[in-house]
Amino acid sequence: MTGITHTTALWYASRATGVVALLLLTAVLLLGILVNRQGRLPGLPSFAVTGLHRNVSLLAVAFLAIHVITAIVDPYVTIGLAAAVLPFSSGYKPFWLGLGAISLDLMAALILTSLARARMSRRAWRGIHWLAYAAWPLAVGHSLGSSSDTRSGLVLSLLVGCVLAVAFAVAWRLSRAREIPRASRAAAVLSRMPARKADL
């Protein structure tokens, strides 16, 4: 690696934000699985997990936006604006960038439908939200294929950690697949609350 100059700054920024975005997206997926199975995080009420899922996903979007914009603006390789959203239309590594473009499009669908959730049916929103399970592996594939950073060292071990964490979370989700009936959900939560000692 050479030093960061004004010509390479964008390239470094794009690579760094890409890694951070992938870590954040992994966190979003893990939190999403936790929300779906009504799981808890130590020290947080379970409804705050929903808020965390939402907020971390917005943070991931910010990093993703910088990652994509810096890659487009960077003169080192030419990736057009179209290639960022149209799969396999890039001149540079069309397949691996195509995976990233599909992933980006799916994430845009997830975010837009979540913003419009109050205006659409629950079933439609849920159906589209299932696409998260496609968007994340595509993003991982894009990271592995389009960047040499991810094939060795610290970044590779981070990536392996993310894959293991997601695999574990999906297994956990499947093991908790039995849904609590709607009518008893509040009662189930209430029964987990500590009881008060005695009356005054």
């Binding site: 705050a48 709607r182 609350m193 000692k197 009356d199 005054l200």
Partner: protein
């Protein structure tokens, strides 16, 4: 049914075209329930207007608002229904799933023909060919209504067919979206729905839903006119309404009152005779510490403050309260307001439809914290935790259940703040441990309850 009916003494002149004074919806005296002959004898025959939309102007002049709790202008709904590309299904909502309210079933039991008149007129105004009456599961009440519908069919009064649909016995089953869901054969669960326009049973099939008391007022406005309707009530909130009163001595009354009536007069509060400090106000039923206005999605007010207020949204809304469906309860001085709120909070949490995470996770946690606060020596952080969690669930449900529940609990934290301070020091002013606010008997909850 209610323990008794309080009917104001002023008797209307029987048989006159425009009866003066109250009650309008309930009979002043005589046989209860009112049969078809007595109903027609008092109010005269039902005159149809002769076409869709013709009632809208009169209802707009009357300024009638929905009596189910939301106080939405009825004329706007009627106009939307008349303009809809496809005629909506008309539904009278008598689910009355609020445990503290009994005005709708009282009205349906005592004056069913006023409600059925209103349903016919609404169906005509909407250009609709059929109507349903959605009424809480109660065999006697359903039997009575079926008999009233049969009486009208025999007399050839009704222009459209009316079907009775039983409403599930759950708190949220009376929500408009739960009703429309039930009418399409699905469970009576509340749903997301666009803010604007009529609710839809299916694409292109709108529904026009009105509370049964609203329908009864409509039947009288069609007969006597909008300016007659405005003889009662205030300029901003005209007309009368049925209120369910829970007096400090434990009695429950359903009574018809003009909107804007003073809460002091309604509950027999005597603020002039309040003791030092003035926070306990004597009433006909005994000393009162706080007043709950608007039911379990409503708000507590200190008794002294309530005694200065009218039963009108213009005065109540700035204080975080609302007229709602007309439930007013006077909490006796010897009960613990925190314990009462904790009982209701637990009920509200268990009545979550279990659809939205913030609601079915948040409300039980809030209810548990409220119960903790109602107990001895609660944690000093309990109140701050409650406020924080309340903020986290507000506005996060498909329906307004979390918002309404949290409004009720937050008002208790304000009004019973001194009591919470006492609890933290291991004391409580409540000496009577018996529950005051009515709640249905605890029962195992099942998804089948919703259908």
């Amino acid at each position: 049914m209610t323990d008794s009916l309080t009917l104001p003494a002023a008797a209307p002149a029987g048989g006159t075209p425009r009866p003066a004074g109250l009650p309008r919806l309930l009979p002043a005296a005589g046989t209860v329930p009112v049969d078809l002959r007595a109903h027609l004898g008092r109010h005269g025959p039902l005159h149809y207007t002769g076409g869709p939309g013709r009632l809208v102007a009169e209802v707009a002049a009357a300024g009638l608002t929905g009596r189910g709790g939301a106080a939405f202008p009825v004329a706007r709904k009627l106009a939307a229904a008349a303009e809809a590309r496809q005629a909506p299904l008309v539904a009278g909502n008598g689910a009355e799933s609020e445990p503290a309210s009994s005005k709708d079933r009282s009205l349906l039991w005592i004056s069913p023909h006023l409600v059925l008149d209103g349903l016919q007129l609404t169906a005509e105004a909407a250009g609709s060919g059929s109507a349903v009456l959605y009424v809480q599961r109660n065999e006697r009440l359903h039997g009575r209504l079926a008999q009233a519908i049969a009486e009208r069919a025999a007399a050839g009064i009704d222009a459209v067919r009316v079907d009775l649909v039983p409403a599930p016995d759950r708190f949220l089953a009376g929500q408009e979206s739960a009703l429309t869901s039930r009418l399409t054969g699905k469970p009576a669960l509340p749903a997301y729905r666009p803010v604007r326009g009529l609710p839809r049973l299916a694409p292109g099939r709108p529904a026009l839903v009105q509370n049964v008391e609203t329908l009864a007022h409509l039947a009288l406005i069609a007969r006597y006119g909008g300016s007659w309707f405005r003889l009662a009530g205030t300029e901003e909130e005209p007309g009368s309404m049925l209120a369910t009163l829970h007096l400090a001595d434990g009695r429950t009354n359903v009574t018809e009152v003009p909107l804007g009536i003073g809460l002091a007069g309604l509950l027999g509060l005597d603020p002039a005779a309040a003791g030092p400090g003035g926070d306990i106000v004597p009433s006909a039923g005994g000393p009162v510490q706080a007043v709950l206005v608007g039911g379990y999605h409503g708000a507590w007010l200190p008794a002294a403050e309530a005694a200065r207020l009218p039963l009108a949204n213009a005065a109540l809304r700035p204080l975080g309260a609302a007229v709602g469906a007309g439930v007013v309860a006077a909490l006796p001085a010897d009960r613990c307001g925190l314990a009462e709120t904790a009982r209701v909070a637990r009920y509200l949490a268990l009545e979550s439809a279990g659809q939205c995470g913030p609601c079915f996770n948040g409300l039980p946690r809030i209810a548990a914290a409220m119960d903790h606060l109602a107990g001895p020596r609660p944690d000093q952080r309990a109140r701050a935790d409650l406020e924080r969690w309340a903020g986290l669930v507000t506005g996060r449900g498909a329906c307004h259940h979390p918002d309404g529940s949290v409004r009720f609990i937050r008002s208790a934290l304000r009004v019973f703040a001194a009591e919470a301070g006492l609890h933290e020091r291991g004391r409580c002013t409540g000496t009577d441990p018996r529950p005051f606010l009515p709640l249905p008997a605890g029962r195992p909850l099942s998804d089948a309850d919703w259908s």
